[in-house]
C-alpha cells in the first residue's frame, strides 16, 4: 500500500463532534509512515478535547478495515495544532454546515446570511472549539469555530 492510499482512507474519517469535517480537513493528521506497519501521527486539538480518543479509535479501525495489521496511532504535541491548520476545504465545509470558520478579524460573518452585523453571545460554546454568536440581521444564533 502507498502513503497516498492511507491518506485517502483518513480522508473518510469524520471528526466526531463536527462530522461534516474529516480529520484531514481539520489538519490534525501530521504524518503517515508506511513500513512494516502503518503509523499515523495525530495532533490533539484542545488538551481536554474528549474527541481525541474517539478519533484515535476511528483511525485505528479505518486502517484495520483496509487490511493493516497492528497499526500504530501516535499522539504528537508539536508543532501544536492551531486553527490555522484547518484546510480551505475544511473552512468551506464549516461555513456550509452553519459554523462560522475561524477568522483573524473581529467581524465574524453570519454563516446563514453572510451579514457582518453580528455579535458575540459567549466566548465559550457547546464544545471546546466553539463560541456562541448571533446575527443581528437574520436574528439566527450561530456557532463560531474560535480562533486559537
Amino acid at each position: 500500500m502507498s502513503k497516498r492510499e492511507v491518506w485517502s482512507w483518513l480522508e473518510k474519517v469524520p471528526d466526531p463532534e463536527i462530522p461534516v469535517l474529516t480529520i484531514v480537513d481539520l489538519g490534525i493528521v501530521r504524518d503517515v509512515t508506511v513500513g512494516d506497519t502503518v503509523s499515523v501521527d495525530i495532533a490533539p486539538t484542545y488538551s481536554g478535547c474528549p474527541a481525541t480518543e474517539v478519533i484515535e479509535t476511528s483511525v485505528r479501525s479505518a486502517l484495520v478495515e483496509n487490511g493493516v495489521e497492528n497499526p500504530v496511532v501516535r499522539r504528537v504535541l508539536s508543532p501544536p495544532w492551531t486553527t490555522d491548520w484547518i484546510t480551505e476545504e475544511g473552512r468551506r465545509k464549516l461555513h456550509e454546515y452553519g459554523i462560522a470558520p475561524p477568522q483573524k478579524s473581529t467581524h465574524i460573518a453570519c454563516p446563514q446570511c453572510d451579514s457582518l452585523n453580528t455579535e458575540k453571545v459567549s466566548e465559550f460554546g457547546s464544545t471546546a472549539c466553539k463560541a456562541a454568536w448571533r446575527c443581528l440581521d437574520c436574528l439566527e444564533p450561530f456557532e463560531y469555530f474560535k480562533c486559537l
Partner: protein
C-alpha cells in the same frame, strides 16, 4: 467549578475551563507515570492518592460561594499559571515544553474572559464592586504560596532551565496591580500568607473535593464503563 454561575453562558465557560484543565492534568500525570516507571497511570494519580500526597496550591481548594469568588480565584491563579507555562515552553524537558505550548493558548483565552469579568464586576454596581472586593480580599492570603519555591521548583529551575519564580512573581504583581486598578478595586496588603499545599498540608475543603472525585474508584476499585 461549573454550577452556580450567574447564567448559562458562564456555566458553559466554566465547563470549558474545567475540560482544558482536565486535559492538561492528564498530559502531566501520564508523563509523571512514565517518568516514575512503576506503571502508574493518570487515573492512579488522580483517584488513588491520599490527601497528603497531593502537592497542589491551597488557592485552588478555595470554596466558591458566589461568582466573585470564582473570578478572583481564576484571575489570581491563571495570571500566575500563564506566566509559568510561558516559561516552561523554553525548559530543557521537551515533553513538558510541548504540553506547556499547547496549554498556554487555552489559559490565555480563559484569562482574557475572566479578566473582563473582574473589571466588569469591580467597576460595576455598588453591590458587584463590594462583593468582588470581598472575594479578592479573602483570596489574597492564598497567593503567596505560588511564589514560594519547593525542592521540585528549585531542581527544575536549576537543572532543567525551569521557571524563575522570582521573575514570575514580579510579572504577576505588575499584571494584577494593573487589572485591579482597571477594576477600581483596592489591592490588599501582602500580610500573612497561607502555605502548606505544596507539602501536602491542605485546607478543610480539599477533603470534600477529593471525596467527591474519588469515591467511585474507592468504593468500586477498578470500575470502568
Amino acid at each position: 467549578l461549573v454550577a452556580g454561575m450567574p447564567d448559562l453562558e458562564e456555566e458553559l465557560a466554566n465547563a470549558n475551563f474545567a475540560l482544558d484543565f482536565l486535559g492538561q492534568a492528564r498530559m502531566f500525570y501520564t508523563y509523571a507515570g512514565e517518568l516514575e516507571g512503576n506503571g502508574r497511570s493518570e487515573d492512579d494519580f488522580a483517584f488513588l492518592r491520599d490527601e497528603n500526597e497531593y502537592h497542589n496550591l491551597l488557592l485552588l481548594e478555595r470554596p466558591v460561594e458566589h461568582f466573585g469568588d470564582s473570578i478572583a480565584k481564576l484571575v489570581l491563579f491563571e495570571t500566575f499559571y500563564l506566566a509559568q507555562l510561558e516559561a516552561l515552553r523554553n525548559c530543557d524537558d521537551g515533553r513538558i515544553a510541548e504540553i506547556a505550548t499547547r496549554a498556554q493558548k487555552e489559559v490565555r483565552y480563559h484569562l482574557r474572559h475572566n479578566s473582563q469579568w473582574l473589571v466588569r464586576l469591580g467597576d460595576g454596581t455598588e453591590e458587584s464592586h463590594a462583593r468582588m472586593q470581598q472575594s479578592i480580599d479573602a483570596t489574597w492570603q492564598f497567593t503567596g504560596e505560588m511564589f514560594t519555591a519547593d525542592e521540585v521548583d528549585e531542581v527544575f529551575a536549576n537543572e532543567f532551565n525551569g521557571p524563575d519564580l522570582a521573575a514570575i512573581r514580579e510579572r504577576w504583581h505588575a499584571e494584577i496591580n494593573d487589572l485591579l486598578a482597571r477594576a477600581t478595586l483596592t489591592r490588599p496588603d501582602d500580610g500573612w500568607m497561607a502555605s502548606g499545599g505544596k507539602t501536602g498540608r491542605h485546607t478543610e475543603n480539599f477533603g470534600y473535593m477529593l471525596a467527591e472525585m474519588q469515591y467511585l474508584q474507592r468504593s468500586h476499585p477498578g470500575a470502568t464503563w
